[in-house]
């Protein structure tokens, strides 16, 4: 690792002040991506600004028909939270299958979505469940948050403070995991929400995306058979040693069907 300064401010305002004064500083949440990146010398921040001391960023609470998850809440806490398991079991299921146990004990929802890894699980939940991302300065709709591979709508110095999930009527998540990393080769969240059916796909493309044709078909009949014959074009999908674009396109339909089964099961 290159050398850097280490700071751990006590408030979100103090984090913003540090980031404003030092454009080369980087925020660290759980560090599950950032620390390996630093170890490989793929990044050279002047300072790490650790969010660990900001208690208000941690924890899960029910707020009417929504579940609010603080940005610094580790995946394990979401996975085993009684409220999440009761109200949005698909979200608890998704969190319980991120990475491995040690990663789930450190990695956070805020860090995951701010990093916007194309194969991360949480983007599928955020978009599929139509969550709202609460930041240090504003609220961002899920559909506007993920803009490209490792790119989000966050401005310089803006940090995620919480994610607000409306409780869906029903939802399911299915992923075809990479056997070593457990990242999603393809992961699909299907949800019947107050605003209609949503299908969000992670792992397959450069960034999470919705499949309108599947959403319409499921609005007509919420069953796996409704998806028969609907597939996404392979053009533009990720292609690597783990799976070709054609195979990923095939997996999108398959995982969407399994997600519907999970939602109705």
């Amino acid at each position: 690792m290159y050398s850097f300064e280490y700071q751990h401010p006590k408030t979100v305002a103090d984090v913003a002040a540090v980031l404003a004064s030092d454009p080369d500083a980087k925020v660290v949440a759980g560090g599950m991506t950032l620390i390996p990146t630093l170890k490989q010398r793929l990044a050279m921040p002047s300072a790490l600004v650790d969010l660990r001391d900001i208690a208000e960023l941690r924890g899960v609470r029910a707020d009417g028909d929504t579940i609010v998850i603080g940005a610094m809440t580790p995946h394990a806490d979401v996975a085993y939270d009684a409220t999440v398991r009761d109200r949005i079991p698909a979200l608890a299921h998704l969190a319980r299958h991120i990475g491995d146990a040690q990663v789930r004990n450190r990695g956070t929802i805020g860090g995951s979505i701010a990093n916007a890894d194309p194969a991360a699980d949480y983007p599928a939940a955020v978009v599929g469940l139509n969550a709202t991302i609460v930041t240090s300065t504003r609220e961002i709709a899920a559909d506007d948050f993920f803009t490209a591979m490792f790119e989000t709508a966050l401005e310089e110095g803006e940090i995620v403070t919480a994610v607000r999930f409306p409780v869906p009527k029903r939802a399911g998540y299915a992923k075809f995991k990479h056997p070593a990393s457990r990242y999603a080769v393809v992961g699909v969240m299907v949800a019947e929400t107050a605003g209609g059916v949503r299908v969000a796909v992670t792992g397959a493309g450069p960034s999470v995306f919705r499949v309108a044709e599947m959403e319409q078909a499921l609005a007509g009949s919420f069953s796996p058979d409704a998806l028969a014959g609907i597939s996404v074009p392979a053009d533009g999908l990720n292609s690597d040693i783990h799976a070709s674009a054609d195979y990923r396109a095939h997996l999108v339909t398959l995982m969407a069907k399994r997600a519907v089964v999970a939602a109705t099961g």
């Binding site: 280490y6 620390i35 146990a101 450190r106």
Partner: protein
């Protein structure tokens, strides 16, 4: 520049001076001489470096020592009793020959004892799933899983006896 980091390691309060970019595992091994925690892959995959931080299993090669300031850290050296009596999970690994070369064992045992917190009656499948973050290059998984199953049972029995 260096930072002062205060931790409780295996029940003992320590204050160490560390570089900002020092990894927790390096401070445990090199500064505190707790070499039971191993570095296998150094890329957050193999889990040989697993320790408990505030009661939860983490990969100490993927955490800065600075981030452990104020934390309670338990390493494999902190499990056995002062008189050398093995922790029930360690005893189970010995009983079931849950190790071959032994390199991954400290991490396996630390992961397994964290499983007792989350799911003390884990099935064989659940144990295998829980140990996804720990790799045994000898591929001795069958005996490891047997050891963990027995170790969880022994830990439950110990807890019940204490209550």
């Amino acid at each position: 520049m260096a930072l002062s980091v205060s931790m409780t390691v295996n029940g003992k309060a320590v204050t160490v001076s560390v570089a900002e970019n020092a990894l927790l595992v390096d401070v445990l091994r090199q500064t505190l001489n707790l070499t039971g925690t191993h570095v296998g892959c150094d890329t957050s995959q193999c889990g040989a470096c697993t320790v408990h931080v505030n009661g939860r299993s983490v990969k100490s090669c993927t955490m800065l020592a600075a981030q452990a300031d104020g934390a309670e850290v338990t390493t494999i050296e902190g499990l056995a009793a002062a008189d050398g009596t093995l922790h029930p999970m360690q005893a189970a690994f010995k009983e079931h020959h849950g190790l071959q070369c032994g390199f991954c064992t400290p991490g396996m045992v630390m992961s397994a004892t964290d499983l007792a917190r989350v799911n003390p009656t884990a099935s064989e499948d659940e144990i295998r799933e829980w140990l996804e973050g720990n790799i045994c290059r000898c591929t001795g998984y069958h005996n490891i899983v047997k050891a963990v199953k027995d170790g969880l049972g022994a830990m439950s029995a110990t807890r019940q006896a204490a209550e």
